[in-house]
């Protein structure tokens, strides 16, 4: 009975083509549009490339300080002002308690929409940014729109935990949290998953973690240590320091 249920599950396809130098269409998957959300931590080194190909760029509050201060040293440019004028977010959203006044003035004068949500203390800045994208994206578009988030990992652990919870709260969206060292995404139990590995930019280290609840059964292919209807939970086995093998990468399914 369970086998039949898994076989009839829809497959969700994942790939990290957004990390490739030129956005191209690999044969196996349509090009994905993506929105970029920048949180208030050090920018990853590949930020200029990520910025250039984004459909929409939102800074969450102090994320704007990071773009203002750090973009220059990530480019090969000599002209500081030119770099500053090139990387302008479409939206700056949040409670505005971290963005510096001069940064806010600069981007406002350059046409960024300043979306001041300081009256709302119930949700994090990332939550506000994702909500906005969620509201303005049709159900059909959601399957093709990826939201890339930088600065969500590391730093204060409660912030990181809350950012990971966003993946669960908005599990109908494709949200990827990125750092210099890794990317993470949620694999909802409602689907089987095919993950295409871009081995020029990612891997080989990988893992699967049952954050929030144990997994009664997980099965994978394409890893060095595959799981076969394996149970996973914190306190017992979780899959860390695994290695991706095949180009196609891993298939994953299971509740």
């Amino acid at each position: 009975m369970l086998g039949r249920a898994i076989r009839s599950m829809d497959v969700m396809v994942h790939s990290s083509t957004f990390l490739l130098p030129k956005l191209h269409q690999p044969g196996h998957t349509p090009a994905k549009n993506y929105a970029l959300v920048v949180l208030n931590q050090n920018l990853p080194r590949f930020m200029p490339r990520l910025w250039t190909h984004a459909k929409l760029r939102i800074c969450a509050d102090g994320g704007a300080n990071r773009i203002f201060d750090e973009m220059f040293q990530l480019t090969n440019e000599q002209d500081y002002e030119r770099v500053r004028n090139r990387y302008i977010p479409e939206i700056i959203e949040g409670d505005m308690d971290s963005i510096r006044p001069e940064v806010k003035r600069f981007y406002s004068s350059q046409g960024s929409q300043i979306s001041d949500k300081s009256h709302n203390q119930e949700t994090t800045d990332l939550h506000k940014c994702i909500s906005r994208i969620h509201r303005s994206t049709s159900d059909h578009e959601k399957t093709n729109l990826c939201v890339l988030v930088t600065g969500a990992l590391g730093g204060r652990f409660d912030h990181e935990a809350a950012n990971i919870n966003i993946l669960y709260l908005f599990s109908d969206m494709r949200i990827v949290l990125l750092s210099d060292d890794c990317l993470i995404r949620l694999l909802p139990k409602t689907h089987k998953h095919d993950i295409y590995i871009e081995s020029s930019v990612e891997g080989p280290h990988c893992g699967l973690f049952p954050v929030g609840a144990p997994s009664g059964s997980t099965t994978t292919t394409g890893l060095k240590w595959n799981l076969s209807e394996a149970k996973m939970r914190f306190g017992s086995m979780i899959s860390t320091s695994n290695i991706v093998h095949a180009e196609k990468g891993l298939g994953w399914n299971g509740p």
Partner: protein, 256 residues
Amino acid sequence: MARPTMSHSSSFLLPTTDSAAAAAYAVVVLNQRLPRFAPLLWNRARLRVCADGGANRVFDGMPELLPGEDPDEVRTRYKPDVIKGDMDSIRPEVKEYYSNLGAEIVDESHDQDTTDLHKCVSFITRNPPCSETSNLYILVLGALGGRFDHEMGNINVLYRFSNIRIVLLSDDCSIFLLPKTHSHEIHIERSIEGPHCGLIPMGAPSASTTTTGLRWNLDNTSMSYGGLISTSNIVEEETVRITSDSDLIWTISLRN
């Protein structure tokens, strides 16, 4: 339900403390940049263990954190007691340097089932530095941030060794497990930690958690990923009390 109470305190982070009263602890250093309080922690530790490349971090990082002093002198003073792991990250000259100073090098074959931290915690439990092992803390530097699968593996060590007081520390925060088998009293050292805190049901949902001492207390409240988790909370009182039906990760920010 009458559960035993477990008391927690971060007095080990205080700059000056009565060493007789302070909790005994071992320090484990993993392979990430040292936090700024590493020298302070090192001094009063009963045992200092580097996991493989953690030794590089001590070798490079301690003199950086004590810039006014002679690097060689710093390295001699801040030397690990044990360096453990498969030795594929530690630089040869670092291994030789500490070996010559008397550090015990515990080389081991690549065991894929356990992380470096797991191996170090196992080692410490088998070779406790002092007799009072029931209250021995294991403080870990370099367990958070960096590669996410490493971080998850390190957090899993807290769950797997839930009977041992293991604290993961970074520049920004500390985290430790609150096992569901106990009620918890967390004594807040306001000079060095807070006010931001959180309670995270990492491994499984909690049907009922109750707290006192926080700005937004929980009262028989459910928590889960996909629902409510307690983050960006604020410690308001000197003692925070927590009781839950599920294991929780407690986190508190550290002051600069």
